[in-house]
Amino acid sequence: MSDSDAAIAALDLTPRPGSAPFSRQVLAQASMEARLMLRNGEQLLLAVVVPVLILVGGVTAGEHLDLKLDDPRPLVDIFTPGVIALAVMSTSFTSLAIATGFERRYGVIKRLGSSPLPKSGLLLGKILALLAVQLVQIILIGLVGQILGWSPKPGVLGAFLAVALGTAAFASLGLFVAGMLRAEATLAAANLIYLLLMAGGAVVLPVSAYGGFGHVARWLPSGALGEAMRGAFLDGSVSWRDLGVLAAWSVLGTALTAKTFKWE
């Protein structure tokens, strides 16, 4: 009792309003969101377990079955950048859409709307959280790739731009879905689109593996991200064409989100 009395005495409720500096607010938001994402079991499954299983399964099964892609290079060198692209897609699109859908549903965005955090800060915090989670994903996938014999020749600029523009494209599309649909519908749609793009969107497998459809797939954000990532890690190149496609999707996604998104 005496402890809590002391605590009560310490509580000075006199008004002293003020916003924290913008950068501190954004960092607080980013670390909160990243922690919540990494703590959530389903999100973690999507972010880490599925990509790692696909990498290990794809490489071992491919070698076992003597899978022939057009590319003569080792399967692990082709798959690992593709799986990194998949990880970016799963976090920036699916995880973000689902998390944002439920934030709307549970009034989190409404609550933060009456805090000093401006909407730009909320958005920036989300993007930083995505990049932080993706960094963890890339490190883990890279380590697993190394174990499987991955020998990348990374081009820093190409890889950086692929992650940045891939995040921008998929995050804007993810927010569009989350802003349009109810939380449950967002959950279903974001997972379905993820599965379809994973299977048919030339993200893990190169567009050359899809025959004629490859030409179409390269215009999809998934195909463009996969190709840009493979370009960056296979021969250190910067795939300007694919990065341009991602930039175009970012513009489209941002415009759609800006037009339709409701914070509540």
Partner: protein
Amino acid sequence: MKAGSAGPSPYTGAVPQPAVEVADLRMTYGAKTAVDGLSLSVEAGSITAVLGPNGAGKTTTLETCEGYRKPQSGTVRILGLDPVSQRRELLPRIGVMLQGQGAWSGVRAMEMLRHVSRLHAHPLPIEPLADRLGLHECGRTPYRRLSGGQQQRLGLAMAIVGRPEIVFVDEPTAGMDPAARRTTWELLRELRESGVTVVLTTHYLEEAEQLADQVHIIDHGRLIASGTPEELTRGSSATVRLVVDHELPAAAEAALRDSVALWSKEHEVGVRSISFGSRTLEDVFLELTGRGIGHE
């Protein structure tokens, strides 16, 4: 509305009077009129209760004050500021407790409180605040599994952690047990003592009577009475009070009721209510609206 009082002045310890001014506010949703020409003001440094049944327009009014909704007609000024066009300037100065939810489903109570505190420049120390509201008992339990009362207490903590000048609390004690309700009342009183303006909505008459300096009773989106609880319970010519010298035994009470019924028939006076004991805001509400506050 003193338009001249609106200005980007930093907090100096004095707030413009009144702290909240709502003038002829009208809000409709489709065919439904939620707020119908409501005008009211809130004196700085007071506890003001907006009292009314469910659907009276309390939450809509509060959310318009908080800047969530743009007035369809009429004006709202908070600390002299327009809550929509001067929102960024106003937000750090107000604290908001929403009705239910408002936290991530997987977040822990202390984590959420710490997060909100980090958005402010001079937040309250969160440990004593959490002690005060019993939030440590929530431990590592995710928000979705907290009890309704725990979620309410966290909501109140989030509303005041930024050391606001005004707090808007929507049904603050709904779902709380009596002990938590008393703690909440004490805290709201203490906020007033510290110079914070408190605006609360409630449909608990007892809460308004116990807590408020000023009560605004609204019904169907209109203000139907304003005053201190004492003024409101003082009565009018439509109220007859009979004070007796000792507590009535049941037989005497029944006989009195019978006599009143007879009297009412003879003189063709409708009796809306007879209460034994003190007059309450419930009586006031009944008198003004012809129905109890719990009824839609």
